[in-house]
């Protein structure tokens, strides 16, 4: 049974708080019949792994989860940032995190896990310290993204949404990340690495695995994936002032405009132009 079906069957019938008991019954984490549990190619949506019941969520985190809920006119809107905060503590979405969010928002655990399983940034298994995403949407793929991804799978020995045995790197194919003028693009913990090559990508992941600090090509020093998730939940890491205003491609137009002394019209120029156009129209009309 897929997690989606499970979510719907629970919905409305109970508050679903007793997720742990179900999990201990072994149903929730079961592999569907006919799918080889060892088959790395069986990339079908899987339910949240509830076999681990320990949690790192403490009172401070619970307070912060409540703070997030209080930001919104209706608390359920806090669902996404709360899940980000859970990941920042737990390294993935955990059953304990789901239960606490459900309790604070007064919704069922099925509601929370239904949301968590919809969005690709929420991880059902422990994520690596660094999330490396290679854009393989059409334009990046053509510009070299496919080659980068292939090279990284060989280098790291993992496929899409898999983590290296040392727990350092989770590799992903990502969809267009809105940086097409810097194609091919790689994201490390959701920071831009622009204009990549297979060699530069390998160099980056090698540094990450050896604990060498690296910096985004137009952003900040790379933080851990958990810390990045904390920023997404709305908690500052004081790195906003790092990096440039814009990368060179973003500045293409302003650079050319400066070189040629091209400007947007001033309001006066626009008014003069309008007056001239009206005069011309009047002349035309008079004929």
């Amino acid at each position: 049974m897929s997690s989606v079906e499970r979510g719907h069957s629970d919905h409305g019938t109970s508050q679903g708080r007793d997720l742990g008991a179900e999990a201990r019954g072994g149903q929730f984490g079961q592999v569907p019949a006919g799918v080889d549990a060892e088959d790395p190619n069986a990339h079908r949506p899987e339910p949240i792994d509830v076999s681990v019941t320990e949690t790192l969520i403490d009172d401070k985190t619970v307070d912060e989860l409540r703070q997030i809920a209080a930001r919104y006119p209706q608390s359920r809107s806090a669902m996404l940032p709360m899940l980000h905060l859970v990941q920042s503590v737990e390294g993935r979405v955990t059953p304990a995190g789901i239960e606490i969010i459900a309790e604070i928002l007064d919704v069922s655990t099925a509601d929370v896990s239904g949301v968590a399983t919809f969005y690709t940034m929420y991880k059902r298994r422990p994520n690596g310290e660094y999330n490396v995403g290679v854009c393989t949407t059409a334009l990046c793929a053509i510009m070299g993204g496919d080659d980068i991804y292939d090279r990284l799978t060989k280098e790291l020995g993992v496929g899409h949404d898999e983590t290296t045995p040392d727990g350092k790197i989770t590799l992903e194919r990502v969809e267009c990340n809105a940086a097409c003028d810097y194609a091919p693009v790689m994201m490390v913990n959701w920071e831009f690495f622009d204009n990549q090559t297979p060699d530069s990508a390998v160099e980056t992941v090698t540094k990450l695995r050896h604990g060498v600090e690296i910096t985004s090509t137009r952003g900040a020093r790379i933080t851990t994936w958990k810390q990045a998730e904390r920023v997404l939940a709305g908690y500052s890491d004081d790195r906003a002032d790092e990096g440039p205003t814009a990368g060179p491609a973003s500045q293409l137009g302003v650079r050319l405009a400066a070189e040629n002394n091209w400007k947007a019209p001033t309001p006066q120029e626009a008014a003069d132009a309008l007056a001239a156009a009206r005069a011309a129209e009047g002349e035309e009309g008079a004929k």
Binding site: Q74, R76, S77, A78, L80, P81, H84, L105, V115, F118, Y119, T120, Y122, T136, T137, A138, L139, I142, M143, D146, C176, A178, A179, C180, D181, A183, N189, W190, E191, R218, G219, A220, L232, G234, S236, D237, R239, A240, T245, A246, G247, A249, S250, Q251, L252, G253, V254, L256, W262, K263, A264, P265, P267, A270, L274, A276, A277, E283, E284, K287
Partner: protein, 342 residues
């Protein structure tokens, strides 16, 4: 008879930086640097005007939505019913359409342009809560937005009694979590309500029943960011750029097999040939084979369309969509079939 008419049609410079004007500045994202360029003066001007006048100003500017559909922004604001329910502004900062890459650099370089636009727009149609729904996969953009909103609160541009002029506005930066569909406005609303991001049936339209079932305006980042310049310079200034039914300037994104990919802000109606001439053309030794005018969901153009004016109506007449002005350029080395199926 035509010889006697001396006035030539007014033609602005080929590049018209307004929203991008400060992208070359050092630390343009800081409030003090934004203010040094005149930032937040438009907000002060706006708060001294009756709200209805601002809606009329935006209608007069003929600004059409910059997120793809091209709906007239002022008209959208005018649709909100007067039913006493709270009104909301939701800025669509999801930018997930393949090829689109203008809003992210805007928010990274000059987040205050958007924040000022939000403050003015919310006041104009009487919203006291505004949300920036930004995709989660852009950490540094989110940092700059969060900081800009904090700075704007501290300076009194947001929050209770903005600039001491009696208006209250709360602005929330809301990070998504990875779902292409959330760029669609009703899926975005479901996501913002803490649900799976699935599109709603229309009607009702968000203007009538949007966020929490209340009247809601959903506008693209660039649309809202354009508002301060219209308030500062006037509707006639805005309409002096562009073409009929496509007024003003817009950010165009060049990517793929061009010598110089990047962002370039020009009057609507500029052609790809003009853009390529200005920016250096196709990469050395190759020819243009096909391109998208408005991202991956817009039907493909070829070299035949080099002189099609890139405005809403002309592109539609030629069989495609202006969309997000995401010009993905491919040369003869690329198979069209390969590109559309990859």
């Amino acid at each position: 008879m035509t010889e006697t008419i001396s006035a030539e049609p007014y033609s602005p410079d080929p590049i018209t930086p307004v929203l991008t004007a400060n992208w070359g500045d050092d630390r343009a994202w800081k409030l003090t640097n934004y203010e040094r360029r005149g930032g937040y003066k438009a907000l002060r001007t706006a708060l001294q005007q009756p709200q209805g006048d601002l809606v009329q100003l935006v209608k007069d500017s003929q600004l059409r939505g910059r997120g793809g559909a091209g709906f007239p922004t002022g008209n959208k604001w005018g649709f909100l019913p007067d039913n006493g329910a709270p009104r909301y502004l939701v800025v669509n900062a999801d930018e997930s359409e393949p090829g689109a890459c203008k809003d992210m650099p805007l928010m990274m370089a000059s987040p205050h342009t958007l924040v000022e636009g939000i403050a003015i727009s919310s006041y104009a149609f009487n919203a006291h809560y505004a949300f920036i729904y930004v995709r989660g996969e852009v950490l540094h953009v989110i940092r700059r937005l969060q900081q800009a909103v904090r700075e704007a609160y501290s300076a009194g541009y947001l929050g209770r009694n903005m600039l001491g002029m009696g208006y209250d506005l709360e602005v929330i930066v809301h990070a998504g979590a990875g779902a292409y569909i959330c760029g669609e406005e009703t899926a975005l609303l479901d996501s913002l309500e803490g649900r799976r991001g699935q599109p709603r049936l229309k009607p009702p339209f968000p203007a009538v029943a949007g966020l929490y079932g209340s009247p809601t305006v959903i506008n693209n980042v660039e649309s809202i960011s354009t508002i301060p310049s219209i308030v500062a310079n006037g509707a006639d200034w805005f309409t002096s750029m562009g073409v009929d039914n496509g007024k003003g300037m817009g950010i165009f994104s060049l990517s793929g097999h061009v010598k110089n990919p990047g962002q370039i802000e020009v009057p609507l109606g500029t052609t790809l040939r003009q853009l390529l001439d200005i920016t250096g053309g196709i990469r050395e030794g190759h020819q243009l084979k096909f391109w998208t005018p408005g991202g991956s969901s817009s039907p493909i153009f070829t070299a035949e369309h080099l002189d099609t004016p890139l405005d809403y109506d002309s592109v539609m007449k030629a069989g495609s969509m202006l969309g997000t002005r995401s010009l993905q350029i491919f040369d003869e080395t690329v198979s069209v079939v390969g590109a559309v199926t990859s």
